[in-house]
Amino acid sequence: MTESKLMVGNKDIVVPGDILATGMEYLPSQGTYRKGNEIISSLLGLVRVEGKVINLIPLSGAYLPKKGDTIIGKVIDINLNGWRLKTNSAYSALLSMKDGSNEYIRRGADLSEYYEIGDYVICKITNVTSQMLIDLTVKSPGLGKLEGGRIISVTPTKVPRIIGKQGSMVSMIKSATGTNILVGQNGYVWVKGEPKGEILTVKTIKNIEKNSHRSGLTEEIKQYLKNNGGKDGI
């Protein structure tokens, strides 16, 4: 029996085709596959070894809708049963009449009184079928129509960095810029405040997106906000 050997370290950047481990002891998980004696990368990603399981955190790529995700969608169509939303992915999603509001919407009601075409709505994905038919709901606290503000789109894989640990990064930006911020897992970000605060927020988020791989990012962003007119006392 050949000896099992890990060829990469935690947080290494790997590209498709890179050999991550040899031997049968390790187990391939997300973004990797086994070929004979080897575990090979199938993504551009960051290595994460958990015990004997090797998986990759993707560094780039389009959004793939998943059940349970909170996303921001844009209303692109209204039909008899509900609203169709663009989701910044290859698939649009359906917000049905019964899931579109906490109040009861009777059949035949004018649905544009709830959401008009062009409105942005923060909602939760309740179901994704194998053919990527997607159902949404707003029946949870914090969900619903986003009034005013502006939307920017970021690389979906950077969303966790923008949110930060337990939302620490987002809270820091909010208090420094005096804006309200909501981040959808799909890469749409809603920012609302005064123009100056919004501009600083957008620039800060772009900065995080660009430097998301750096360690000590939180400290860097704190300094960035300070240098660019953000409020102190974070």
């Binding site: 498709p16 085709g17 070929k35 090979i40 551009l44 993707p58 790529g61 290859a90 649009s92 990527m132």
Partner: protein, 233 residues
């Protein structure tokens, strides 16, 4: 055998200098720049995105579309008329076949992945440069793929087997054959194989071996470029 020394002084198994960069087109999901000698290719990937018309949708996986195009000023002679030609359509097709075997597109049923390859400057080997660029752009776009793909031309110039023919060699007065190939390095399998000219079976096999070695070097450049985008500074 008249071709004892290459016109530009390279060794017979030596490629022209290669440069590669990833993330060069902001609006694309993935993008790259690949330069080999005087041939330059840009590639951009859009998608997976919604595919219309609907009848083209495949319920089991995303469709891959590839578009190869020479910019009008990129040829070695007169201006190239813009728009698709029979040549560019064929190259788009073989490029698709060169890339598709490594891609895993079944996470995105009914969708499409578009790959656009544009050449601002060419000096032979443009389809291979395009495939190298596209392969990096696909990885940069976060597409699941079992390996990168590398491509290079091999062939003979006046009896001599060599890699990476440039324009002067393609136009050499004597027997020339040009064999563009693409290889999946981890398996050694070929995904592109075409030929212009004449070659013996022995020389062809010798050329393919030479090309395989060259492609491992291309792969190193591609890997380094992809990693560089996400490393500090």
């Amino acid at each position: 055998m008249a071709y004892k020394k290459r016109i530009d002084g390279r060794k017979f198994d030596e490629m022209r200098p290669i440069e590669a960069k990833v993330g060069v087109i902001d609006r694309a999901v993935g993008s790259s720049y690949f330069k080999i000698g005087k041939t330059i290719a840009y590639a951009a990937v859009y998608g997976p995105r919604e595919l219309f018309p609907r009848f083209m949708q495949n319920p089991t996986k995303a469709l891959l579309r590839t578009h190869y195009n020479m910019m009008p000023f990129s040829g070695s002679g007169d201006r190239v008329r813009p728009g698709p030609s029979r040549r560019s359509k064929e190259i788009s097709l073989v490029t698709k076949h060169a890339l598709e075997p490594v891609l895993k597109l079944d996470d995105f049923p009914n969708a499409v992945v578009d790959v656009f390859i544009e050449l601002p400057q060419t000096d032979a080997g443009s389809r291979c440069a395009g495939i190298c660029a596209a392969s990096m752009a696909l990885a940069d776009a976060g597409i699941t793929m079992k390996d990168l793909v590398g491509a290079i031309s091999v062939g003979i110039v006046d009896g001599q087997v060599l890699v990476d023919l440039d324009y002067q060699e393609e136009a050499f007065d004597g027997i020339v054959s040009d064999v563009p190939i693409a290889i999946i390095p981890s398996t050694g399998e070929l995904t592109l194989l075409q030929m212009d000219g004449q070659i013996s079976k022995d020389d062809l096999m010798k050329g393919l071996e030479m090309g395989k070695k060259a492609i491992t070097q291309i792969m190193d450049v591609q890997r380094a470029a992809l990693k560089a985008k996400f490393k500090g500074e």
